[in-house]
Each structure stands twice: as C-alpha cells, then as structure tokens.
C-alpha cells in the first residue's frame, strides 16, 4: 500500500499483526480511531495497556483475574471437588454462560503442540497435578477441543492423573442439538452411536 504518512503506516502495520486483521481492515480500524475524539483514542489505548500491566492469573486455577484468586475459585458455593480442565479463558466464559456447571476450573493456557513449539512444560499442568494430589478433588473433566493437539494433551494429562483415586472424564462428543445426521462426519456419527445413552437421561 501507498501510505501518505509514516505514522499512519506504522499504526496500520501494528493493527495488521492482530489475528484475522489484514492490511485493508487495519487501515479501516485505524482511520476510524483517527476520526474519534482524542479522549476516546486515549481510553482505547489505555484499556489494553492497563490490561497488560495489571492483569493477574488466579493462583489456584490459572484463569485471568483482577485479583490473585479468581471469582470462581473464591465462590464458597462452587464444588471444589470437581475440576473442569479447559484450554483458555474463552472456554471458561463459554461454560459459565451455560449456567449449568457448578464445579471449578483449571486453565491450561494452551495445548501441547510440537508444531508450534509448545510442550507440556509451558502449560499449567504441574499445578493441576498438585491440586489433585492435595486430596479434595474427586473428578477432573477434560474439556479440550477435539483436535490433534487437544487429543494429544488429553492423553498426556490422563497419564499424569490415572494413578490418583479420582474419576477422569471427557466431555461427550456427538451430534450437536439442531445438527442433522446426514451431514455429520463419520467419526462423530460413529462415536455418537458407540457412546449412546439410555433414552430419558
């Protein structure tokens, strides 16, 4: 692109480093911000700086938090014997939005992915094993994505946990509600038959 200004080019380059944002979209975003009041631009810029500077990770579960312990781990009503293992804070938000889960979480911070150079040591796995060893936990639900990386991570963590006297489960895979059987992929369909549940449960 043929920028009339170095400052503009620089801002567009920074924005186009964001995932899913190409140069044209970056330019649109930057010009939009440029048209806003100085106060609004400051507030935008501050919000991300402040987040980066002040954010904490819950010392128990590793989730993003404003304090050193997150609101879920602090809540007395949550069942501390049930841990749901998730990849990141987006998964926590998705599960919280269902309003159906009353246990606590453990946030891995990623998945094992040799292609991206992410090994088990970079993930929040040691802390999970420590929580289980401590004795309160009765079940760990492995709620990771059904991808190659997710399956590898599940397998690795299962090996770490299998000698403790706890239940280790994974979330059910199957046809989504509203999903049509004829369009389901073979693996999902086969698995949904193999793991069928009694009617009415």
């Amino acid at each position: 692109m043929n920028f009339s200004s170095r400052l503009l080019e620089n801002a567009v380059n920074e924005f186009s480093k964001l995932p899913g944002i190409g140069q044209k979209t970056a330019l649109r975003l930057v010009l939009h911000l440029l048209n806003q009041q100085a106060d609004d631009v400051n507030r935008f810029s501050e919000s991300i700086l402040k987040l980066k500077k002040e954010i904490q990770y819950c010392k128990i579960c590793g989730n993003i938090s404003d304090a050193d312990t997150c609101s879920v781990c602090q809540a007395p009503k949550r069942d501390k014997s049930l841990i749901c293992l998730v990849e990141d804070t987006r998964d926590v938000m998705a599960i919280e939005n269902t309003n159906q889960y009353n246990g606590v979480y453990h946030v891995l911070g990623g998945l094992i992915s040799p292609m991206d150079g992410i090994g088990p040591s970079q993930l929040n796995i040691g802390a999970l094993v420590d929580r289980v060893r401590e004795g309160t936990v009765q079940e760990v639900i492995l709620a990771l994505s059904a991808t190659m990386e997710g399956d590898t991570t599940i397998f690795y963590i299962y090996k770490k946990l299998k000698d403790f006297p706890i239940k280790v489960s994974t979330i059910a895979r199957g046809i989504a509600f509203g999903g049509e059987i004829e369009y389901a992929d073979e693996i999902t369909l086969a698995r949904s038959i193999a793991t069928r549940v009694p009617y009415g449960v």
Copy 2:
C-alpha cells in the same frame, strides 16, 4: 458475556467499538495482545496514540500527512491544474496504487449525509473552491462513490464549481473489467451503454 475480569471486559468493550468488530472478535484480539510481550503491547498502543497526536492534514489538499504539506502536493512533477476530488485518504491510496494519475488531490473528509448529521460545512469544500478560484486549476474530477450520499455531494459541489471557467468531470461508471454483463445491475448496464466510448479509445 461472563468476564472473569473487569480489566478484560473493559478492553473488550473498547475493541468492540471498532467498526466490524463484535464482542467475540474483540475478545480474540484482546487475548492475543495479552499473550504478546509487554514491549509489543506498548508498541501497539503507542502507534495509535502517536498517530492521533502527531498526524497533520495537508494544508492544500486536506490529505493525511506527516508534514503540513503532503508528498503529492509537494511533488514538482504532479500536474497542479488537475484536481481529483475524493472522500478520504483511502481513495487517494487506491488511485495512487494505479500509478496512472499524475494530477493532485482534494480530500473532502466525508460525504454530505443528513442522516448522519454531516452537512457541507463539515467537509473540506470551501478550500476546494478557494483552490479553483486561485486560477491554476483547469479540471476537477469528482471521484466520489456512486451512492446516495456521493451523488448528493457531487451535485452540491458541481453547483459551487459550475461558474468557474474549468472542466468538471466524474469518473466513468460501467461494467468492471472481468465483470459479467448478465450479472450487472440495470442502472450500471443502462449507463454503460448510454456513455459508450468508440472502440480502441
């Protein structure tokens, strides 16, 4: 959405004010930035603050510029008698990318749009009339979008310019290169026949 952190929520809200960015995308962008090094986040944040603080608008054509006169208006080789009127800096960039235009520009900074409360007085129209009155200009090309707002603006500016001894033209409307006639809308197709050009021109 059910945020585990006020800081995160705040940053996501700021990002979702950007055009075309919903809450889910905003969350993805913010979490991506949170995973970057502090230096990178600072650089991102600085780039937009610095742009807002230091950017200038060319005192001749109104385009975004690092100095008080933009590089196009400064270039001795550009034909100062030919002005191409555009809506914003993106249009300047698009036309510059063609490498076919040797005149200068005039950037309006928007289109007349009563629905959005934008009247002629908020646009860079007075400066255009002053440039024309000054005497060097021989032709103004109205290169505005073929929308309701674009047409209104073209009509308004044409009235302002029609008493000066200059040519006022608009860019050609027609079937794009690679465009198929059967899929063209009726107005474009009718107009492309009415304004047909001799073969070989």
